[in-house]
């Protein structure tokens, strides 16, 4: 949805400036923690962006995202470690595999009710974790695959880029995140995005207008699966280890919080909340014992104060200004 506070031109300028600044960060600071935060932000931006596409735009509450993340991660790790593939090919293969799984999960369960779909995706994610832990001959089981190789990209013309510094991963993952967000933005502002919103708001009506809901929902699921798998495929090389914890509920929880706090269906809101929520848990580290209690409290407060998330809040302000009547004032329901 449009940000009410600025024109399209100004917004574009801000985006460009923001990107330049983000990419310039490693030149200004050698503080590896800042870079680690950047990596985390980039990864979660894509994770939550993907979930936003599926949930915020298509209206499908999906717990499968973490499954696609881990599938991409494991596929990349295994292909690189066991079959000596270059990292970019492994990650790409992981993304494709994740997309295929998304297609499978989507095709079989999108005909179901919203709630059944949610549970099927939940079971899918849980099954992924179980398989990664128990199919020991394939995935090395609970031990995981430690000591993943340092990625090296070879470009035609003899140039090569060895990612052995945190700054390298920062650039790579940030670049990927920007690309993915650009794709998401293009999709949601296009006809596809409008179709998705129509389907989410009133599926029978959308259908009657000639929109095939299944096709659009499937598109959303598969695309988000691909991007999520791609990020997973590269992220594990930053961690240097992949193990079943890549399927932890921790990722799902974080993604959900980012999307809902950002405002499901709000592109910029979710992006913004990804940034905030990457920083927030670490800002709360001043207390070891009560960190998570405070975090929970903040979530509760945020939901009471911003019912529609950040995006929803901006939406309300936009409508307010348009109406020039205070929303929720006397006489309004």
């Amino acid at each position: 949805m449009n940000n009410p506070l600025m024109s399209g031109r100004m917004r574009a300028t801000l985006v460009v400036v923001g990107l330049v600044l983000l990419f310039a960060v490693p030149s200004f600071t050698r503080n590896e923690y800042v870079l680690a935060l950047g990596v985390s932000f980039a990864t979660f931006a894509v994770l939550s962006g993907g979930l936003n596409l599926v949930y915020g735009y298509a209206g499908l509450l999906s717990f499968a995202q973490v499954g696609f993340f881990g599938v991409g991660a494991y596929a990349a790790a295994l292909l690189v470690t066991d079959a000596n593939w270059p990292v970019w090919a492994g990650a790409l293969a992981g993304a494709v595999l994740a997309a295929l799984m998304g297609l499978g999960v989507g095709y079989s369960s999108l005909r179901l009710s919203r709630h059944a779909f949610a549970i099927v995706t939940l079971s899918f994610a849980l099954l992924c974790m179980i398989v990664s832990r128990d199919w020991v001959s394939l995935t090395r089981g609970a031990m995981g695959i430690p000591g993943l190789a340092v990625p090296q990209f070879s470009f035609p013309g003899g140039l090569s880029w060895r990612l052995n510094k945190p700054a390298d991963f920062y650039y790579l993952l940030l670049g990927l995140a920007v690309a993915c967000q650009a794709v998401i933005y293009a999709v949601v502002t296009s006809r596809i995005g409008r179709a998705l919103k129509a389907v989410k708001m009133n599926e029978p009506l959308a259908q009657s207008q000639g929109i095939n809901p299944l096709r659009y929902k499937l598109m959303a699921v598969t695309l988000s699966a691909f991007m999520t798998g791609l990020m997973g495929g590269f992220f594990v090389f930053y961690l240097t280890i992949v193990d079943p914890s890549i399927f932890d509920f921790y990722y799902t929880e974080t993604m959900l919080i980012m999307v809902i706090l950002g405002g499901a269906g709000s592109f910029w809101g979710v992006l913004f909340s990804s940034a905030i929520l990457t920083l927030l848990p670490d800002m709360l580290r001043f207390t070891t014992d009560l960190r998570m209690v405070l975090y929970g409290f903040i979530l509760i407060l945020a939901m009471l104060v911003f019912p529609g998330g950040i995006g929803g809040w901006f939406e309300r302000r936009r409508i307010e200004r348009w109406r020039k009547v205070p929303y929720g004032g006397r006489g309004t329901p």
Partner: protein, 385 residues
């Protein structure tokens, strides 16, 4: 709505204040600080808690004895949720903070493995107290990660000792295995298989349960119906408590072995003599009778209201080893501490010869073979790991 919000906001603010004051109270002077990364929340938070308690006791004792290099010593604990991504983020922060002389524990194997490249690049010593994966030591020391030091013995070596003992006793016939479905349990079955294979035997039945399972009645009934000679258990924490109760309720009938937590058996079950004949191999048991251990158990129980477990002991000893190394280094330079660690000769509270790090930066404590006789834990023997 406003009133409710205000109420919530007030309680939130008071928690923030309480939390801030808790942490503020812990700061003072120019202390030496170690950074510990442990799972304080999530599925293995019990271990995180015990690791913290063990470390805190060692720190408190060091400070009571005059501190280290004339300064107070402190430990900061950061939660890693047993997740490598969280751990990388938080340890990177600790390293960037530049105030930590060493990084401690990790606790979960995958977390320790993820931290290893970080501390190598930052050239900060990393002391692993509890993670059990063999690959940690394999990748450390000569020809590998020179900054990582592992203090606990590998499962493989301990199980080898146990298998040897069982064979000597004539008991290594048909052994069934039940363990938790994690790297800990899987390492257990792999280690036991390897140890038995050396002696031309194997496990007759291997099964795993999901961590957090409360109900074992079916799997226990299944095991009993197959009538193995021994049942090797790799269970910890609440799962172990539930297992013991349900095993007792089911009437038992098969002696237990493996890594049975003989120190955590419910008292009434122990006292009934039901578990007599159990054998277990552990790097630690609170009942090991040395003056050092007695003092430790007493001090720990008094401070925390519950006796120490294996994890508390390992963190305690590893912290003491680290503190000792800092003292011997004479300063807080990372490289000096690393070198001092490599030259460690540490007298464990369990007695025995002074312990040293080997070429893979692994410290070989002894493993105790424990048994239960007459409703009490007895030490059947020690074995060098």
């Amino acid at each position: 709505m406003t009133k409710k919000l205000r109420m919530l906001a007030t309680s939130f603010a008071s928690i923030v204040l309480a939390a801030a004051s808790l942490s503020a109270a812990a700061q003072s002077g120019a202390p030496i600080v170690i950074g510990s990364s442990i799972p304080l929340t999530g599925g293995v938070s019990t271990f995180g808690q015990h690791s913290r308690w063990g470390s805190e006791l060692a720190i408190a004792e060091a400070n009571a004895a005059g501190g280290v290099l004339g300064r107070k010593i402190e430990m900061d604990f950061q939660d890693n949720r047993c997740n490598p991504a969280e751990a990388v983020k938080s340890v990177t922060q600790m390293i960037a903070d530049k105030k930590y002389v060493a990084i401690f524990d990790g606790l979960c194997s995958s977390v320790a493995l993820a931290i290893m490249p970080l501390i190598e690049r930052a050239e900060i010593p990393f002391v692993v107290a509890n993670a059990s994966a063999t690959s940690i030591a394999e990748k450390s020391g000569v020809g590998g990660n020179k900054w990582t030091f592992k203090v606990n013995p590998t499962d493989a070596s301990m199980l080898d000792a146990l298998a040897g003992w069982l064979e000597k006793d004539g008991k290594a016939g048909s052994i069934a295995f039940l363990g938790e479905d994690t790297d800990f349990g899987r390492a257990g079955s792999a280690g036991l298989e390897a140890a038995l294979k050396k002696r031309n035997r194997k496990l007759t039945d291997v099964d795993f349960y999901q961590k957090g399972t409360a109900d074992f009645s079916n799997v226990l009934a299944k095991i009993k119906s197959k009538k193995p000679q021994l049942l090797a258990l790799y269970a910890i924490d609440a799962d172990f408590q539930n297992l013991m109760r349900q095993w007792y309720s089911a009437g038992g009938g098969v002696p237990l072995t493996g890594r049975v937590l003989v120190d955590q058996v419910p008292k009434e079950i122990m006292a009934s003599g039901f578990l007599d004949g159990t054998t277990s191999v552990q790097p630690y048991d609170p009942s090991i009778d040395t003056p050092g251990n007695k003092t430790f158990v007493e001090a720990f129980t008094k401070k925390n209201g519950t006796p120490p477990i294996l994890v508390s002991f390992e963190s305690y000893e590893a912290t003491r080893i680290l503190i000792d190394a800092i003292k011997r280094a004479g300063n807080t330079d990372h490289a000096a501490i690393r070198d001092a660690l490599a030259k460690t000769r540490y007298q464990s509270i369990l007695g025995g010869a002074p312990l040293e790090f080997d070429a893979n930066n692994l410290l070989h404590n002894n493993a105790a073979i424990l048994g239960i006789k007459g409703g009490k834990v007895v030490v059947l023997g020690f074995s060098k790991t």
